[in-house]
Symmetry: C2
Subunit: 552 residues, 2 copies
C-alpha cells in the first residue's frame, strides 16, 4: 500500500494547509474558500453548470460505485416546492458498520500526513463543485441561494479544514519515538526505546441535521478522516443530497489513494424506518457526532457509553436589549438576525429580554425594522429562505394562537418557486410569567419579546434560561459599559458565546471558522465545541511500546 | 483579590516548571522529584522526621482548618497489622458540593498562571513532606517502603506536574484576544474584537483507590486546580490519610494565595455509608475521575451524563512468552513483575500465555526465579509489601482451590510488623478452556500460566482478553523479531500499551511520568490516559465574546 498519491495531494494543497495551520492560532478573519458566489471568482458559467449538475440528480438513483444494495430510500422535497425524487441505496446498519470497520483497517494504516492529503483533496474537489453543493443545500434545507453557497459550501469547507488542522495539531504533538535513559549511579544506565503510535479510535458515526447538512457535519467527518476513523454519514432524510455528494467525493478520493471506498459510507434512511439508534448502539461505533433535537441527543449521551458523543442540541438563544441611544440601529440588527433563514439557525435569537422602561419603544422599533427589511419581496425571500419542515410550519401556526402576538407571520410568494414555503418571523410579547413557554425551543421564525423589570432581571433570566435549557449564542445591546461587561461575564459563566452591540452586517448568527468557537461544550445545548482540542483529542489514542536498548 | 502570592510561587518554581514544559514533549527520562529515599539527598533525619509526623497523626482527629463538621469517620488499618485510628470530619455530599462550588468562583477568577503557581507550590510542599507521605501510603496501601516513597510521593508528584503542564499547554493555545477584519471591497472593512476566555468546567470529583491513593489521583486533582475547577477528593476509606495530607496542603496554599480553602474539600466516608454515588450524580459535578473496580466505573459512565468521566477500571494484563534463548532471564524479569507489591498494581501481569512446546520449561524457570527472588525473607517482604485488603486475601484463598495450582501462595512473616499480611504469589496452570476464569480480573498475587497451542493462538487470546475485558499493559518475550512486531501491533490495535523483551530492572509494571502514557483510554479497563490531551482538554471550555470595532 503506497501513500504516494495521498502525499502528492498533501503537497498540492500545501499552501492552503500551511495558511490554515497559522490562521487557527491567530483566530482573525480568513476565507479559506472565497465566500462570494460570483462568477468573477469562480469562472463564467460555473453557477449554471452547478445548477445543471444538481438537476441531473433529480428523479434519478444516486449510485455509489462499489456499494451495491438491494434496497432504496429517498423522498426529499425542496422547501421551495418540488420533489427531488433522488433515490439512495438503503443498507442495513450491520452492513454499513461492517463495511466501514473493514475499510477502516486500511485507513488506519495510512500515516496522519497521508490522511491529511486525502482530506485536503476531498475538500478541493467539493469546492470545485461548490455551486452544485449550494443548490443541493438550498433545495433540501430551504436556505436562500447566497447562504447555501456560503454556509453550505464555502464555510462548511472552512469548518472541515479547521477541524482537520486542529486534529492534526493534536496528533503532531506526540513524538513517534523517544530514548529513555535512566542513570543508575556507577552502573550503566537503563536504556529503553519508546515508540508512540497515534491510533484511530474506531468507526465514526455522523448524524446530520436538515438545516445545515454540511456545515454542522463536516468538522466531524473530516476530523475523523484525518485521525483515521472510517465514517458512516447518516443524513437527515430531508437533506440527504448534499451529504451523498460529499460521500461520493470521499469514496472517489479514497479509491484513488489506493484505499477501500467504504472508509466513508452513506447511511440513508427514512423517517418511517430510522436507523440511527441501531448504528449508534453498535460496540464498533466509537465516535458519534450529532446535530439535532435534544431528545435524541440526550438518548445518545445516555445510551452509548462505548462511544464519545459530541452533540449539538436544542437551545434557547437569548438577547438582552438594554438602554441605548441608537434604538433604530439595534432594531435593524436584531430584525436581520431574526429574519435570516427564518430563524432556522442554531444561532438565531429566540428570547429577547427588554426592560419595562423601553419595552414598547423597542418593540415598535423592531416592528418598523422588520417592515423595512422585508418590504421588498424579492429581497425578503432571499433573506428568509424557505421553511425547511412541516414541523416548523406547525410551530408557527401554534405560536400564532398566543395571546401576545405582536407581529403575525406572513406567507410571502416567491418569484421563482411557486410552492415555496416562505414566512416572515412572528413576534410575541411575553412576560416573565411565561417562563415555561420561552424556556422551550421554538425552532423557526418565532421570537419572544419578554418584558422584564430591568436589566438586572433580564440578566438573571438570561442566565437561568441558558443554564437550564442551553444556548449557542447570547447577545447584549447597551450603552452602559459596565452592564455590557457584566452581561458578557454572565454569558461566559453560563457557558455560552456572546456578542455585544452588534450593528450593520455583524450578526450574532454568524460563526466563522478559524476565528469563532461555535458552541462551548458547556451548556445543555452543546456537548461539544467546533472546533477545540476537546472536539478532536478523543478521536485518536496513543499506543506505546517499550523495548530495551543495549547500553552504548 | 490579588494574584501576587500565586505568581511569586510560579516564579519560585520556575525552573522545575520550565523543565517540565520541555520534558513532556521529549518524553525521555526525567525525575522531577528524585526518587531515591536516601537521606544523602533529602537531608539527615528526614526519614525519621517523616515517620514521626506520620505517627503523630495516629489515634487523633485529622482537622482541616475552616472545615468544621459535626460527624466523624475513620477506621483505617495498616496492612502491616495495626489500626491507624485517624478520625476525619464527615460531611454530607450536599455540604461538600456547596462548599466546593462556592470556593470555585474565586479559583475561577484567578488566571491560569496564578493557578499554576498554586499547584506548583502545593507540589513543593507535598514534596517537602515526602517521607511522611511515604509512610502514610505504606500503612494504608501496604506497599513496601521504597515503593511508597517512589510511587506514593516522588512519582505521584511527577504525574501531578505532568498533568498540570499538559492542561496548561492546552489552555495556552487559546489566544486571549483577536482582531477580526473582514474586507468588503470598496467599503470599509467589518471590524470586530474577539475575546476568548478559558473557563473552568465546574466541580471536579476525584474518587481514589486504596492501592495507589496518590499516584492515581494526583493527575486529576492537579489538572483540575490548574484549570480552575474546585476539587472534592473522595478517598478510599482504607487509604484516606495520604489524601487528607494532600487536601490539607492544598487548602493551606489556597488560603495563603488569598482564596477560600474550600476549593479543595475532603470527602471521607466509610464502606458502610458510601457517598460517592450521591456526589457523582449532582448536577454541579462536571468532572469525575475514578480509579477502582469496573462495577462502579461503569455505573459512573452510564449514570452521570452531566459530567465528563475518566475511569480506570479492572483489567486483565496479558503476557505472551514466545520462544527465546534466554528463558531464565525472562523468568527472572517476570517473577519480579508478578511479585512487586504482590501483584496489586493495575499494571501487574495476570494472564501469561505460553505455547505448549516450552510450557513446562517456562513454568519451571518461573518457579525457580520466584524461589530465587523470594528466598531471602528480608528482601522478599520489601518486594512484596503487604496485602491491602481482606478481599484480596479471600481471592488468594479461592485461587488456592484451583485444580491447576503450580505454586502455592505462602504467608511470610515480617521482621518489623508482627501482624503484616505478606503473601507470595500464587501460580495456576490453565488451558484455553478456562477462558471464563482468566477473563476475570483476579486482583492481587495470583497469576495464570495458560497453555496455548502456539504463539499465534497466544496472540489471539491476548487480543480477545484485552478487547473484551481491558488491560493496562501487555508484554511479549520472544527472539523472533517478526513475532514481536506483530505482538506490538496487535497490542496497539487492541488499545493497550505494550513492552517487549524486558529484562533486569525494566518491569512492565512501571509507568514513568513525562515519558510513558499510562492507559490508552481505548479499552474497557481505561476510559482515560494519564496524561494526554483528551485527559485535560475537557476540564475547561472557551467562552468567547465579540464586539464591533470602529473602522480605523
Amino acid at each position: 500500500m503506497s501513500e504516494k498519491q495521498a502525499l502528492d495531494w498533501l503537497n498540492l494543497h500545501g499552501e492552503r494547509l500551511n495558511q490554515a495551520r497559522t490562521r487557527i492560532r491567530e483566530r482573525g478573519f480568513w476565507n479559506a474558500f472565497p465566500e462570494t458566489p460570483s462568477e468573477k471568482i469562480h469562472g463564467e458559467g460555473a453557477k449554471e453548470a452547478g445548477r445543471k449538475s444538481f438537476e441531473s440528480r433529480l428523479e434519478n438513483p444516486f449510485a455509489f460505485p462499489g456499494f451495491d444494495s438491494a434496497g432504496e430510500t429517498g423522498g426529499e422535497r425542496s422547501p421551495y416546492g418540488f420533489a427531488l425524487n433522488v433515490r439512495y441505496p438503503a443498507a442495513a446498519p450491520e452492513e454499513l458498520i461492517r463495511r466501514a470497520a473493514a475499510a477502516g483497517e486500511q485507513l488506519a494504516a495510512f500515516s496522519p500526513d497521508a490522511r491529511m492529503g486525502i482530506a485536503m483533496e476531498a475538500m478541493g474537489r467539493l469546492w470545485a463543485r461548490n455551486f452544485e453543493l449550494a443548490y443541493s443545500v438550498m433545495h433540501t434545507s430551504g436556505q436562500g441561494f447566497v447562504m447555501s453557497f456560503q454556509a453550505g459550501a464555502a464555510h462548511a469547507l472552512e469548518r472541515a479544514l479547521e477541524a482537520a488542522v486542529c486534529a492534526e495539531e493534536e496528533m503532531r504533538r506526540i513524538p513517534p519515538i523517544a530514548r529513555w535513559e535512566k542513570p543508575r549511579g556507577k552502573r550503566p544506565p537503563l536504556l529503553m526505546e519508546k515508540r508512540f503510535r497515534v491510533m484511530p479510535r474506531g468507526v465514526g458515526l455522523v448524524v446530520a441535521c436538515a438545516t445545515f447538512p454540511t456545515w454542522n457535519s463536516y468538522p466531524a467527518i473530516f476530523a475523523n478522516v484525518v485521525c483515521g476513523n472510517p465514517v458512516i454519514v447518516k443524513p437527515h432524510p430531508a437533506a440527504a443530497l448534499p451529504l451523498a455528494i460529499t460521500v461520493e467525493v470521499l469514496r472517489d478520493v479514497f479509491a484513488e489513494a489506493g484505499l477501500e471506498r467504504d472508509a466513508a459510507v452513506f447511511a440513508a434512511d427514512s423517517a418511517d424506518a430510522p436507523i440511527a439508534k441501531k448504528l449508534a448502539a453498535d460496540p464498533r461505533v466509537k465516535l458519534i457526532d450529532f446535530t439535532g433535537g435534544s431528545a435524541f441527543g440526550e438518548w445518545l449521551e445516555q445510551n452509548t457509553p462505548q462511544a464519545k458523543v459530541f452533540a449539538e442540541k436544542s437551545g434557547v438563544n437569548c438577547v438582552l436589549v438594554g438602554e441605548t441611544a441608537r434604538p433604530e440601529e439595534v432594531a435593524r440588527n436584531l430584525a436581520f438576525s431574526l429574519s435570516l433563514y427564518s430563524g432556522q439557525m442554531c444561532t438565531s435569537p429566540q428570547n429577547i429580554f427588554i426592560p419595562e422602561a423601553h419595552f414598547a419603544q423597542t418593540a415598535d422599533a423592531l416592528n418598523d425594522a422588520m417592515d423595512g427589511l422585508l418590504s421588498d419581496n424579492a429581497r425578503a425571500v432571499e433573506v428568509l429562505g424557505a421553511i425547511q419542515s412541516e414541523e416548523t410550519m406547525r410551530r408557527i401556526k401554534d405560536a400564532s394562537a398566543l395571546p401576545g402576538v405582536a407581529r403575525e407571520s406572513k406567507a410571502l410568494s416567491h418569484p421563482h418557486f411557486e410552492g415555496a414555503r416562505v414566512q416572515t418571523p412572528l413576534l410575541a410579547k411575553l412576560t416573565t410569567k411565561d417562563g415555561e413557554l420561552y424556556r422551550r425551543e421554538c425552532f423557526g421564525p418565532v421570537a419572544y419579546l419578554i418584558k422584564v423589570a430591568d436589566e438586572e432581571e433580564g440578566l438573571r433570566e438570561m442566565r437561568s434560561c441558558i443554564e437550564s435549557r442551553g444556548a449557542l449564542t447570547a447577545l447584549i445591546y447597551a450603552d452602559d459599559e459596565d452592564l455590557v461587561a457584566r452581561a458578557l461575564d454572565t454569558a461566559a459563566r453560563a457557558g455560552v458565546n456572546a456578542a455585544a452591540n452588534l450593528s450593520g452586517e455583524a450578526l450574532v448568527n454568524h460563526s466563522s471558522a478559524f476565528s469563532d468557537y461555535h458552541g462551548t461544550g458547556a451548556n445543555p445545548a452543546c456537548g461539544a465545541c467546533l472546533t477545540d482540542a476537546a472536539f478532536v483529542a478523543s478521536r485518536f489514542y496513543v499506543a506505546q511500546s517499550r523495548r530495551m536498548l543495549a547500553a552504548s
